[in-house]
Assembly symmetry: C2
Homo-oligomer: 405 residues x 2
């Protein structure tokens, strides 16, 4: 049993309560109680527990990175400041083609370590070689949703048959913290038949779907040319959409498409840094939230970010949407913290287990050290978390009640 | 004597050389030698010196924060997500009105500590109560350019008489690392006569001028209404401009004004985070650099940023200009690192003393710990510094040869 006392808790519960002079009791994997420190100290006097004084700390729920390609951390800084086409075709794809399973294991492990140290407790991955990824995820202790890529248009052919075989083989390697998903790459790299199969297989197996969607204006234009409608209209038409879909990017959306996303309960993994760096676009965050679409945050890969730091992603998201909407009140700190926590777990359908510091939930807790000049004074914990904190301010990470560092 | 060996040095010299397996010898306040570690180790075998193994570190010149109001770090997170007018009139100004000299000393000291820890070795300040600021700056050991605010339109009247008296009183309190400047607040808060006086006094005393300029579109519109021309045209007309002027913000510029800035050698302190957060605008970085204007970086205050981390400012600058120019090759990593180092010292006219790791220069060196997951692998030091590093990665800061932490 672990008892953290005299601390500040940004619960992210339904009331978005911030408890000062608070305490949390962790029993096994779960949060057994939270409340005022003085009260809980009295209540649990007689119980044997490890006591930690959390003065100067702020406890937050684990952050969620809802779109990344972890293994690509090997390509951090490998190719920057290039037009998208040159970046992909001349640099990234040739480099990826040389990746061996061992590289993917090492790249993923590096990424998991980076994510853990900067407060991410759960990530949603999309990449090749799921065996290598699962090994890395298990060794680091992070929660990982592993999405084997499907591409069957063009040169790479990984389709239903390979995926079905993979799933039956991999199922037994999974633990409670590692889950399989299906990741058809995009509408322009996966055939209509395979996209339909993905959703039917996902429904049968109870899996999440992970797809790149409307990342660039060119993608939308090509879709209009090829299918006579925009990407989200196309996916709705072929029966791909559902509340198990997490769509990354979604920069270029018509009002009609926003309504479609809301209607089907699709979640959007918003990746502002990558979208700016590659000049892909800016997702219409305000409109999406207003329409009731669940939006969460992703870093995309370290090849296009170039970090996996959700704190940085929060600040950049807030800044760019204030500017984009020409409204300093837009994308306020609480909304942005929600994107990185509670909306992330909603997208991954684990909101009943994690995503807030609440009695009965699994203990996924990040300890942020506020006892540093750049986090003082603290007029608002939520403001300091979104606008002033950095990944390096994380002192400790707890997942499923286990202190990972 | 201090000898750092087996390290990587991002020199920022004229050739922008990066030395791997390098070493630097610091004697007194100065960089006595730099080069390959094996060579320098042999060359200085017999000299008694403190040897530090810098494996895993990257040494960079001290970062320059060319526009801030340090004392306002007391208002970090005090008022976010508000329209500019409400933010200023209902929150910031009333709070500032209550500041006592002791508050300004404490706020400045906090800011200096934050800046030092995140690798800033020199800052350009603009605020009231210079005595309190100078005290804080001297105690922390940072290089500070202290600019007492001048406002003589509206309710606050601090004009030439007060400033002259202040200068003669403060001159003796200055050390080599603390310098006085003159900081007329803006064209709309300082009278024409006083602006003229500022430049003549600055020329007489050899001082820098620090002014807010063309921050918002409204400022430009009001200037057109009042003076019949845009702010920079107005300042040129009244003889205010010169190569001793550092103009903060400069978001709203005509092509003609960009030419004027270049002609007079005015430096621009670009503050992208604050400009986005308050929805002020985006400075035309590409056009300014193309015209030959010296552009450096500033954080503005922690009330509108909300941190004083130049690493964060570099990343946000790169991202926003790629997007703004619709060109992923714009604002490349080397250009952005230049803004934060060599361009900063040019603006402050201390480029002969600091700003690069070069033999003969004052030793202002920041040690960045690259031995962390988010800075590995390192395909390019400059890329990792701009796109992946954070203020918290700074392990040590050396100013004038003195290790400050």
């Amino acid at each position: 049993m672990l008892f953290i006392k005299n601390t500040t808790i940004v619960t992210q519960n339904n009331e978005r309560q911030v408890i000062k002079n608070g305490a949390v009791l962790i029993v096994g994997e779960k949060i057994a109680d939270i409340g005022l420190s003085v009260k809980l100290e009295k209540k649990y006097t007689k119980i044997k527990k490890k006591i930690i004084n959390g003065r100067g700390w702020v406890l937050i729920p684990g952050l969620i990175n809802a779109h990344t390609h972890a293994a690509m951390s090997l390509l951090r800084g490998f190719a920057d400041d290039l037009p998208l086409k040159d970046w992909l075709e001349q640099k990234i794809w040739p480099a990826e083609a040389k990746f061996k399973p061992r590289d993917i294991y090492r790249g993923t492990k590096l990424a998991c370590q980076e994510m853990l140290r900067s407060g991410t407790t759960t990530f949603f991955d999309m990449y090749w070689q799921p065996e290598s990824i699962i090994k890395a995820v298990r060794e680091t202790g992070i929660r990982g949703f592993v999405g084997p890529l499907i591409i069957d248009l063009g040169t790479v052919a990984v389709g239903p048959k390979q995926i079905e075989a993979l799933y039956s083989r991999l199922k037994q390697k999974l633990s409670g913290k590692v889950k399989l998903t299906i990741a058809p790459h995009a509408t322009y790299t996966v055939s209509e038949d395979t996209l339909r199969w993905c959703q039917s297989f996902a429904k049968k197996e109870g899996l999440l779907l992970h797809i790149h969607l409307s990342e660039t204006e060119g993608e939308v234009k090509n879709c209009l040319k090829k299918h006579g409608c925009r990407p989200i209209e196309y996916l709705a038409k072929i029966g791909f959409l559902g509340n198990n879909v997490v769509a990354a990017h979604c920069c270029w959306l018509s009002d009609k498409e926003i309504k479609i996303l809301a209607k089907y309960g699709v979640s959007v993994a918003h990746c502002p840094t990558s979208n700016l760096k590659l000049v892909s676009g800016i997702a219409p965050l305000g409109k999406l939230l207003k329409a009731g679409v669940n939006v969460c945050l992703g870093t995309d890969s370290a090849a296009s970010n170039n970090s996996l730091d959700i704190f940085s992603e929060m600040k950049i998201a807030a800044l760019i949407h204030k500017w984009d909407e020409k409204n300093p009140a837009a994308a306020d700190a609480q909304t942005i913290l929600d994107l990185a926590t509670i909306n992330g777990v909603k997208a991954l359908k684990i909101d009943r287990q994690v995503g807030s510091i609440d009695t009965g939930k699994q203990a996924d807790i990040v300890i942020v050290n506020f006892n540093q000049p750049h986090l003082q004074p603290c007029h608002s914990e939520v403001s300091n978390l979104v606008y002033a904190a950095r990944g390096g301010d994380v002192s400790a990470v707890i997942i499923n009640g286990q202190v990972l560092f």
